[in-house]
């Protein structure tokens, strides 16, 4: 029994070592959002020229909505675009876009080339509204419940795996609730 006390530092060391080793698995760029379960920030963004509607906080209430922050200059945005398109066109999820610090012409060209799956797009030219959302890199995607609260945030491109394993079950659950 007395011997065991000498093993304690070793066990402690191994424990800390394992904790750090597991820490390496985590992505340091994936910072948890401070806004989870909080209402989406109050904002109004004007539409891209040639589009009818922009995006505002009032539009996020009523139905479960996905808000996708994207830009034409952002390479991963292009990679996730088919995933967003599938969510919107095939799976019937309302997706609204925030066009982050983009040149209007570039954004319109990009949408013409890659398709426009968004119910509406707000142009955040100076990125100020995106700061209110806690955006620190594009793409980022937020899931908003019917009351307009942020329930989930994806940093970086959406993948089919994230959609199937996290977003779709949550959309189903949030639609069923209230």
């Amino acid at each position: 029994m007395r011997r065991l006390i000498f093993l304690l530092p070793l066990l402690l060391f191994v424990g800390v070592g394992v904790a750090f080793l597991l820490g390496f698995e985590r992505d340091p760029r994936d910072i948890p959002s401070a806004l989870i379960d909080k209402p989406a920030p109050d904002f109004t963004l004007p539409p891209l020229p040639g589009h009818k509607e922009g995006v505002s906080s009032a539009m996020l209430k009523g139905d479960v909505t996905l808000v996708n922050v994207f830009a034409s200059w952002c390479i991963p945005c292009k990679a996730e675009h088919p995933v967003i398109t599938r969510l919107s066109k095939e799976l019937g999820v309302t997706v609204r876009g925030i066009n982050y610090k983009d040149k209007t012409g570039d954004a319109l060209d990009w949408l013409k080339r890659n398709g426009d799956p968004y119910a509406s797009i707000g142009a955040d030219l100076d990125g100020r509204v995106s700061i209110d959302w806690g955006v620190y890199g594009v793409p980022e995607t937020y899931l908003i419940d019917r009351q307009g609260r942020i329930r989930f945030k994806q940093v970086g491109p959406l993948t089919p795996q994230v959609v199937d394993e996290q977003i779709l079950p949550m959309v189903k659950h949030l639609r069923a609730a209230s």
């Binding site: 402690l12 910072i31 948890p32 959002s33 401070a34 990125g127 100020r128 806690g134 890199g137």
Partner: protein, 171 residues
């Protein structure tokens, strides 16, 4: 050959000191961001030094050239101009980005292990060392003090050995 060597050493030395000088020369804060009121600008600089740039992560927004860091620097200055206290400005940013943006983690329930952990481990070590040393001492005392007296048998063997040594020296 020799000259080449010297040049290589000079180059290496130059490269070694470049980051130091570059860091002190290249300010991230652009002239157009600076506030006209020096006192307020000073406050903005102090606040910015403690806010993490989320793009480069280990730099403060005061040091970083990332566009988002610039946006946040401007935001900090706008909040100050709007009459916010330093604390309100920091709150404004943590409301959006969480405690992660603070380069000095705040002391609260979720960070208790971070702040107190090292001292707890130090205390455990100190207590352990104390108990171990006390245990050793009491074991020695139980055996008759720090230096236990020799038994009769030991004394005779020691005497025999010493006598043998004496004889060797005489011879």
């Amino acid at each position: 050959m020799k000259a080449l060597h010297v040049k290589a050493i000079l180059l290496a030395a130059l490269l070694a000191i470049t980051p130091l000088t570059a860091a002190s020369i290249a300010w991230a804060v652009q002239p157009d961001e600076v506030l006209p009121d020096p006192a307020m600008e000073g406050r903005a600089r102090e606040i910015s030094k403690d806010l993490r740039c989320l793009v480069c992560q280990n730099q403060s927004i005061d040091d970083s050239n990332a566009p988002l860091a610039r946006d946040l620097r401007i935001l900090v200055r706008e909040r100050l101009k709007a009459g916010d206290s330093d604390q309100q400005v920091v709150h404004y940013v943590t409301d959006r980005y969480g405690d992660y943006v603070l380069l000095r983690p705040p002391f609260k329930a979720t960070t208790l292990v971070l702040w107190v952990g090292p001292f707890v481990i130090l205390a455990i070590g100190a207590i352990g060392t104390f108990l171990y040393l006390r245990g050793r001492k009491s074991a020695a005392v139980a055996a008759g003090g720090d230096t236990a007296p020799l038994t009769e048998d030991e004394r005779q063997r020691l005497d025999a050995l010493l006598r043998k040594e004496d004889r060797k020296e005489d011879a």
